[in-house]
Subunit: 150 residues, 2 copies
Amino acid sequence: MRRTRFDDAPCPIARTVDLIGDWWTPIVLREAFRGRRRFDEFQQALSLSRSVLTQRLARLVDEGLLVRRLYEERPPRHEYVLTEKGRAFYPVLAAMWRWGSDWLWEEGSEPPVELYDRESGRPVRPRLVDENTGKPIDVREVRVGARREA
Amino acid sequence: MRRTRFDDAPCPIARTVDLIGDWWTPIVLREAFRGRRRFDEFQQALSLSRSVLTQRLARLVDEGLLVRRLYEERPPRHEYVLTEKGRAFYPVLAAMWRWGSDWLWEEGSEPPVELYDRESGRPVRPRLVDENTGKPIDVREVRVGARREA
DNA sequence: CTCACTGAGTTCGATCGTCGAACCCAATGA
DNA sequence: TCATTGGGTTCGACGATCGAACTCAGTGAG
């Protein structure tokens, strides 16, 4: 049986999951944010099979998160660079980073990978707030719905 | 070949992806945040196969995002309820929601599912900021590293 | 007492996705 | 001429996902 698709679901979460809901795609994106661009850079950094990497990059290019760009004529060499849409995805990874580092580490085994402000060098702790009010988003204070009811 | 596991990777993103990096787990969590608790509630809402739902719920219970609780003695009935760890996952879904609604919708076809503040009824737009400074997180201003270098 | 029904799963076989290894090809450099 | 490198594609084995069918305990109707 084929995988159930969510790409036309009415829910933005479902559509997003359809796109990145596998084990490699988010990691490939993470590497893109780290500045990797070339096929072999990705492949060596992640040690995933070439066929899977090819598929993931193609999907990301297809969906407009990456562009495949010729950066050398002879011999022809390509690189995969984040688009605006791709860069906009960063908060999702940052939210995962935050949750993972808060909840998936045993005491005493600090996560070796952290985020720092490039300028100040100080650690950055991503947190989700409401853009309008600036207040942190608490599950119990948010309602999901098709439209405002009252 | 077995799927490559990331659950002991040094990167919080990788570990998080190992846990929720499939198509159903994030959607099951979304439904949990919507207040679903019983097996059949999930199954009917998502129309996924029972076997997959069983596996997903078991994994989420295993990892401590949900608890399986007896809420009725005779006949014995169970429900799956979010734990603190599970509730803490909300920002990841909210970030996906935001990105999906910003980037995966054509003009003119508004996402029918939105987020509202329970009290004010006003729409909520999740945004990621640095907890320390309150500044929005921009990719180019954040560096990933094992430890601070200077 | 029997039958149908419900909640909560497990089992089954088919199909799809993932994996590493091997192969391919063009351009370059020794 | 031959090996190497970048950037893939092809292949076959195996693991994951699917819907459908089955299970089992309790319950309520007749």
